[in-house]
Symmetry: C2
Subunit: 441 residues, 2 copies
């Protein structure tokens, strides 16, 4: 068992640290063949290799250094228990105020390196301690609303988050709202807030981290800073997702809440806008709008939010594949589902063997919509017989709406609108490209 | 109603053609501000704009020219009914022989511009007529096995195709096999052939077209030529997919049959290798192997094919989403399915509300496997509690196998192997990256 102050290090890393009398939390200078680095020694990430040590640089960026490459490590300052003792927070009323609503996920978690457990770590003081630059941009009011891995979030949680956002905005105190969230379903929640909160006066920015702040190359600090800067400086209101923009370490991309997808299990730049470019990059403290995004954004305003925060989860998302049994459609229709989002092949197809089951579902009032499992591009159901037949059955083509967004939208439309079919084909929150003519079902 | 020889042209296009006395099939010279083009006037594509005419260039590549840009159009040679009268086929026994098995789809179809209907057009003579370069590379034996849109293909069709490939190979006559296929489910069929036909002595190359040969910028000719050249010149055997490589018009990418996905509904470069690079590019008649692909390929050999061509379609592919009802898992388990491929979130997660239903499914002998809806990256189920809990339940992590391939593999493993769980975790046809340690369930 490693000693408490060894930060979970073992093997070569522990030997080096013991020899030099360096403990976790100490400020250190590390010399390698490539030069010198200054930072704070972090605890070892649970799953990291034994022969690396982790240094948190002044930027908040963590870097792993292989023990074999280290020529010397020198303690500059003893651990001041920065991580456990909160620094004084200087309330600066001249800074814009941001409400930070924490819902859980990697960005809001701290791995206890002794137990391997995860605990919420999102008091204002801890925030400023881990991302010092935040304090120079904004005065942040954090609130822990949920502490959940995002795979456990359900439509009822979307309602809770939406209502909390409304509550914060109605105080009139905030320049913007940041929602920290697990990345697994962040894009689903972003879509949900996009439909639930229309006519937003300020930006609502969801942010997560692919790698926790204890890990080398964590994206937590950069993303949180980027989201905060966008929430403060953006001219535009609406729901956005702010995440690491590429393999470089200096840019955060801001995506439209209905047009973004998690496209990689582990990369920091996992989130990508689909069929559009991100609306903005945040780099060096500034917001760079991307003109190519083709999305018409709403400006900040003094308007009243149009909040419709309920969802009806009787929606099935079915991905078609060869060998797909049409009986599954019959079961869904009989089991009380109100809508089916099909992830068809190509331009929006399923096998002709499904036609009868789909016709029966439509006939009993189930809303059946078509998206494409290709992810990019749009369904076009007038090109081939199969598509035309499906239109004839009453399947609703959703153009370039991604299937995840379509699933969320159907849940929202069922709970809040009278003509669900019509609503599904209208672009409410930029979920359909306005430049593309919508095919009629 | 347009006159038969007007090729379906209307409006500005028809006026220009009538004025100049040019009919469909005529060889023409077209002068625009950008220069001169020589080719054959093609029928108007049904959905094309009225003010374009389509010219098939000598390369087989079709291009659309806006009528307003045309300075002059001159008839060089009267329509010789090349499309209806077959040219003499000169059998050249010195050329390598290729078997072309046609299963349907856009590449094998010809749009009848009068009725809008689609008909198979894949006699050898029609092939040589539309892609003249083919005749200089290979002696092609075409056979129409199926005429189906690929969304209608089922596991029993995979068996038919596999058995036809075996029959062709066993003649010993062919340097390689080309299978033309609709693009909607070509990657599923490629995966199916990869598992069904192991120890292949020659390459089996699936090829399709995103745009039919009657359309401007069709990829049919380039893809068919690229697939044929790869089938002839590749040193390597196995199952591959050959499709347009980018937005340029000169390269075809060859993908591993188990590692490719249709990622765009309409672009010609819709097919992408996932988590690996394509194994080869075919350009200017040559095969350029891509060393970065990291895939270990089998060389051509005189080995006997190991053919296991049956599939058991009692496999469900379930994509998890917030609001997913665990009862659907219970239904699947009760309905006689033998395996479930979950498309989880992130590193391979579903909500904890699904745990009980999954445990019940595992307990009654359903094989439950985990892939990620992120598409790129791999599931890693030991990082978070959720993943560890799922492993505890008996869910099998499939590393970086894509969900489409996993679905096909489960259908194959159920029909052909005794230990399905073990088979799912072994890499049989490069469907799992060998460089990555496989997590144990």
């Amino acid at each position: 068992m490693a000693k408490p102050d060894s930060g979970g290090y073992r093997g070569a890393g522990l030997q080096l640290l013991s020899r030099q009398g360096v403990s976790v939390g100490d400020s250190v200078r590390v010399a390698t063949e490539d030069g010198e680095m200054f930072g704070v020694l972090m605890p070892r990430y649970e799953l990291a290799s034994d022969d690396y040590i982790v240094i948190k640089l002044k930027s908040g960026y963590n870097t792993g250094i292989q023990v074999g490459r280290i020529k010397s490590i020198t303690k500059l300052q003893k651990n001041e228990a920065a991580a456990t003792k909160a620094p004084e927070i200087i309330e600066d009323d001249r800074l814009p105020k941001i409400a930070l609503i924490s819902t859980g996920g990697t960005i809001a978690s701290k791995i206890d390196y002794r137990t391997g457990g995860v605990r919420a770590a999102l008091s204002a003081s801890e925030l400023y301690a881990s991302v010092p630059e935040l304090a120079s941009h904004a005065s942040i009011d954090p609130e822990v609303l949920l502490s959940e891995y995002s795979e456990n979030l359900k439509p009822e949680h979307w309602t809770m988050i939406a209502e909390k956002v409304v509550e914060k905005i109605r105080t009139g105190k905030y320049r913007g709202i940041v929602v920290s969230h697990g990345t697994d379903t962040m894009h689903y929640t972003a879509a949900a807030l996009s439909f639930a909160l229309q006519n937003l006066p300020v930006p609502v920015v969801l942010v997560g981290a692919q790698r926790s702040s204890d890990r080398p190359s964590s994206d937590a600090a950069l993303n949180l800073l980027g989201a905060t800067i966008f929430a403060i400086k953006s001219e535009y209101a609406g729901v956005f997702v702010a995440m690491h923009a590429g393999t470089s370490d200096d840019a955060v991309a801001c995506h439209i809440g209905t047009r973004v997808r998690k496209n990689h299990t582990s990369r920091r730049d996992a989130f990508e806008s689909i069929d559009v470019t991100p609306v903005a990059l945040v780099r060096n403290g500034a917001v760079e709008m991307q003109e190519k995004s083709m999305i018409e954004l709403a400006k900040r305003s003094d308007d009243k939010i149009d909040a419709k925060t309920k969802f009806d989860d009787r929606v099935a998302l079915l991905k078609y594949h060869p060998g797909f049994d049409p009986k599954l459609i019959e079961h869904i229709a009989a089991a009380g589902y109100k809508a089916i989002i099909l992830e068809g092949t190509g331009l929006g197809h399923v096998s002709k063997e499904c036609f009868l089951a789909l016709q029966k579902a439509v006939d009993v009032g189930v809303i059946v919509c078509m998206t494409s499992q290709c992810i990019w591009g749009r369904v076009r159901m007038t090109v081939y017989d199969t598509g035309r037949d499906l239109l004839g059955i009453g399947v609703i083509p959703l153009s370039d709406m991604i299937s995840e967004t379509a699933t969320v939208k159907a849940m929202w439309a069922l709970a809040n609108t009278k003509n669900v079919k019509k609503t599904m084909q209208e672009s409410i929150a930029n979920e359909i490209s306005s430049s593309i003519p919508i095919e009629k079902a």
